[in-house]
């Protein structure tokens, strides 16, 4: 059998299944990253994305550890560790350095001279005040990529406004919280419906997106450096980056003068695209082409009653009143079925329906518990427990993309504060145990 004759699914799985990741090379194993993130999950997430591809990340914390370790749901610690940090210490070497001391700053300069990337999240000006800002470090290492993630960015009229960069505030300032959430039912007040308000999303999406944008920026800068040898400074303001993930509201406002408002689990951007209640929960329904919406009506046995054969343009359904009217009709039908039944109906329709292979998207709304136990994701290696030398078997999300040559991997999930001081300071600074002890006693490490 030639390679082309082998079914694609089989061929590709043989080459990108995360189970063989450890036998493959790593894309970034020539890169050293200093992560000085302070009270910011965005920075930690950013360095994780690089560490998953093999970058040697030196996670630098103050001697008492970064505050972010103590940001954990309901105050729960596992073996002394907050659960967010437990997920995002992955593959990093953890060292301590007390940057309030001048001697520590000299050590940082020594590390920066040997690094490719530096990530920091202090309020603008702090690194400069310590004498380890970009202008100083670029003299020591012109190839350095110096990446700052903050609330307001390094310049602009508000850049020196006081304040750390917290996820919920990022979401509020991005514009993406205001028009997300349930509509206030007519005639009701916020007191009666305290849930019908601007609603934030996800556990720390504001921070995750900021870190991911910066990872893209760093990698683009790294490519440029390969071509020219030049390092540079990078600046990201977290609320700006989250704002930039929105697609149409800015254009709509400029053209029509309309400020986007909450529309529940329906979709201002078009029909059919909503969550619908079912007998045992809810499903997502998607039919962004006319034929898919027709197929959905047909699947429910409503082809004639709803006159689906006469529909000519999906745009006729996208106005607010139309959506509300059709949503009511659709929900009355979906309530008759279970999630599983509706999903099956859509899969079957693709085989035998009048418009097959066209079929609507029907997806069950799952709890994270169901998601974590879904055999499909388990098979794909998303929740394979990591065998961590310190914390034991831990489940974290991983294998979020699969690559044939240089797949990402999680080697360990986390490390306690200062766990790697001995190895890293010996490797990079030549500090033996005696010197290290002195530095510790002096409160520098």
């Amino acid at each position: 059998m030639t390679e082309m004759e082998q079914p694609w699914e089989e061929w590709i799985r043989e080459r990108d299944d995360p189970r063989i990741a450890r036998t493959r090379p790593e894309a970034l194993d020539d890169i050293t990253v200093l992560d000085l993130s302070y009270k910011s999950f965005a920075g930690c997430y950013c360095s994780s994305l690089l560490a998953e591809f093999g970058a040697e990340v030196l996670r630098i914390e103050p001697p008492e550890g970064d505050f972010i370790r103590k940001c954990t749901p309901y105050g729960i610690l596992y073996k002394g560790e907050g659960l967010n940090y437990l997920s995002e210490g992955r593959n990093k070497f953890h060292i301590t350095l007390n940057l309030k001391k001048p001697e520590a700053r000299e050590i940082l300069k020594g590390l920066a001279a040997q690094a490719d990337v530096l990530i920091e999240t202090y309020p603008p000006g702090v690194m400069d005040e310590w004498g380890v800002g970009y202008e100083v470090l670029k003299e020591i290492n012109p190839r350095l990529i110096f990446a700052s993630i903050t609330a307001y960015g390094q310049f602009g009229p508000m850049s020196h406004r006081w304040g750390a960069d917290y996820d919920n505030v990022i979401q509020a300032r991005s514009g993406n919280q205001y028009d997300n959430g349930e509509m206030l039912p007519e005639g009701k007040t916020y007191d009666e419906c305290p849930w019908a308000v601007p609603t934030k999303a996800g556990p720390w999406i504001g921070w995750a997106q900021a870190g991911t944008f910066m990872a893209v920026g760093i990698l683009a800068a790294l490519h440029w450096r390969e071509l020219t040898g030049e390092g540079q400074a990078l600046d990201l303001a977290s609320a700006e980056s989250y704002a930039s993930l929105e697609d149409w509201a800015a254009i709509w406002y400029q053209g029509a003068g309309i400020v986007s408002e909450r529309f529940g689990s329906l979709n201002i951007g078009g029909w059919l695209y909503c969550f619908a209640p079912t007998r045992d929960g809810a499903v997502f329904l998607g039919g962004l082409r006319l034929e898919m919406w027709q197929a959905f009506a047909d699947m429910l046995g409503k082809w004639d009653e709803w006159g689906a054969a006469n529909w000519t343009d999906l745009a006729d359904f996208s106005a607010k009143e139309e959506q509300l009217k059709w949503a009511e009709r659709v929900f009355a039908e979906t309530r008759k079925y279970t999630n599983e039944e509706l999903v099956r109906m859509s899969v079957e329709y693709a085989k035998k329906g009048r418009l097959a292979p066209i079929t609507p998207v029907v997806a069950p709304v799952c709890s994270p518990w169901e998601a974590m136990h879904d055999p499909n994701w388990i098979d794909r290696g998303i929740f394979t427990p990591v065998e961590d030398p310190v914390y034991g078997e831990i489940i974290v999300a991983q294998a979020q993309y699969k690559l044939t040559e240089t797949p990402p991997r999680v080697k360990w999930v986390c490390r306690p504060v200062g766990y790697d001081n001995e190895y890293i300071y010996l490797k990079y600074m030549g500090f033996g145990p005696r010197k290290l002890k002195k530095l510790k006693e002096a409160g520098i490490i």
């Binding site: 954990t72 309901y74 729960i76 700006e240 400029q254 609507p360 998303i382 999300a397």
Partner: protein
């Protein structure tokens, strides 16, 4: 305090167009529709990559039809297509036709990156799958972005997907709501936009590897899997406690206090004050400094415990109802905690700070006119990313791509049109040029008559 803004970032906005772009010389072919697909190349094009967007003529990208409540920008332009698709070259290419496939292979031979988001196996049926492309260009970096990836049960069932499905199946929407309320679909197409962004981390890591070794590779991602990656504590929490992670509305259960509160004027403000100093500042601002020393609130881990968190958030909520959001923002600056009113889209666009930074940018597009867009949010001192132009009608840049990149002669091009391998837009909204178009503006090369 010494400020970096004064030296490192001096005149950043004013000088950005006099500097090079970091991905200059990188060519990307896009066979994508909607958002998960096109947004990825859209990030690269802001970083200077040359992105050729291949659309099926004459209707092109499905996203052209999807506009907010039926609103078309400037009469008939595709409102939702504008932002995710800057700086691209628009090729109307029929990949069902052998001549169309042959053209694609000619382009692929000189490309660095291919991005597609069709269902698994479709690209191979068109003879432009990874296995076919790598034969002619082993340096290619080829990414497929789908609902469920290329293998596994759901992929095998050939299930269709989109952002909402990923929000549903990942647990993301289930979590992002108030307790006791039905699951809430996020109004952003977050699994599309974020999924596409995360995909570029893999693409650029692969580019770095290729810079080192000359080797290309194949990448696949699933939009459900990418959003799961962001859900941090949820997975170890479930494993360790044996319980389902529960929704908590606007409250951040990992940071306390961190929540959104209703103010006196029925506007909303987000407040965060988790560390000792911040919390003391907030208590002082509320006129309740003694709370900072209350044993229930004495340190962050203690405050985070359910009972204590409920208590302190209740106290803050009561206080916030007596103040305006603006007052609370002022108090935050004065007393050292973090607060922001909940911005509308108008607030974001009119934000003086982002305008000064050049994040909110005035664009003067030759085809659709002036409007404000967002710049790529990572600012880079040596290689500033930027938006230059935006959406074009289907097949608008055919002549440029065929003549300039592929070196086709006029008679060859005529033949390609006759055979339907390439084509242009249909005369319907979302596809065609604006009504007042003079037949020239925005065109790089004119179609031979």
């Amino acid at each position: 305090m010494i400020t970096v803004g004064e030296s490192t970032w001096q005149n950043y906005k004013e000088t950005k167009h006099s500097k090079p772009l970091p991905l200059k010389g990188i060519r990307v072919l896009e066979v994508c529709t909607l958002l998960l697909g096109p947004s990825g190349p859209g990030f690269l094009s802001r970083l200077g990559a040359e992105v050729i967007k291949c659309e099926m003529p004459p209707l092109g990208d499905t996203l052209r039809s999807l506009v907010p409540f039926g609103y078309w920008f400037r009469e008939d332009q595709p409102t939702s297509l504008i932002r995710p698709n800057p700086n691209k070259y628009w090729l109307g290419l029929d990949l069902h036709k052998p001549e169309g496939q042959k053209l694609f292979l000619e382009l692929a031979a000189q490309a660095d990156i291919i991005e597609e988001n069709l269902r698994p196996g479709v690209m191979e049926r068109w003879n432009i799958g990874y296995r076919q492309i790598r034969e002619i260009n082993p340096r290619i970096i080829y990414i497929s972005k789908t609902g469920f990836g290329q293998w596994g049960q759901y992929a095998r069932e050939n299930r269709p997907s989109n952002d909402g499905a990923a929000q549903a199946m990942s647990g993301y929407a289930w979590m992002s709501r108030f307790p006791g309320q039905p699951p809430l679909k996020n109004r952003l197409y977050i699994c599309d936009s974020y999924g596409a962004l995360l995909g570029e981390v893999a693409v650029l890591a692969a580019l770095h590897y290729r810079d080192r070794t000359g080797k290309g590779q194949y990448i696949e991602l699933s939009q459900s899997e990418t959003i799961m990656r962001t859900m941090s504590w949820v997975w170890p929490y479930q494993q360790i406690t044996g319980k389902t992670a529960m929704p908590a509305g606007n409250r951040d259960v990992s940071i306390c206090p961190a929540d959104t509160f209703r103010c006196a004027d029925d506007t909303f403000v987000a407040i965060a004050a988790p560390d000792t100093e911040e919390f003391r500042g907030l208590c002082t601002a509320m006129g309740r400094p003694e709370l900072a020393d209350d044993p229930r609130f004495k340190d962050h881990l203690t405050r985070l415990q359910e009972e204590n968190a409920t208590e302190i958030l209740g106290i803050i909520a009561e206080w916030a109802r007596t103040r305006t959001a603006e007052e609370i923002e002022g108090l935050a600056d004065k007393y050292g905690f973090v607060a922001s009113r909940v911005y509308t889209i108008k607030d974001v666009l009119e934000n003086e700070h982002s305008r000064e930074r050049g994040f909110v940018k005035e664009l003067d597009d030759p085809l659709i006119g002036e409007f404000l867009d967002y710049e790529f949010p990572v600012m880079m001192t040596r290689t500033p990313p930027r938006v230059l132009w935006t959406v074009r009608p289907v097949g608008f840049d055919n002549e440029y791509v065929l003549t300039h990149i592929l070196g086709k002669t006029e008679s060859e091009i005529r033949q390609l049109y006759e055979r339907g391998a390439v084509g242009k837009w249909a005369e319907i909204r979302g596809r065609r040029p604006p009504p007042d178009w003079d037949g020239k503006a925005g065109l790089i090369m004119v179609r031979p008559e």
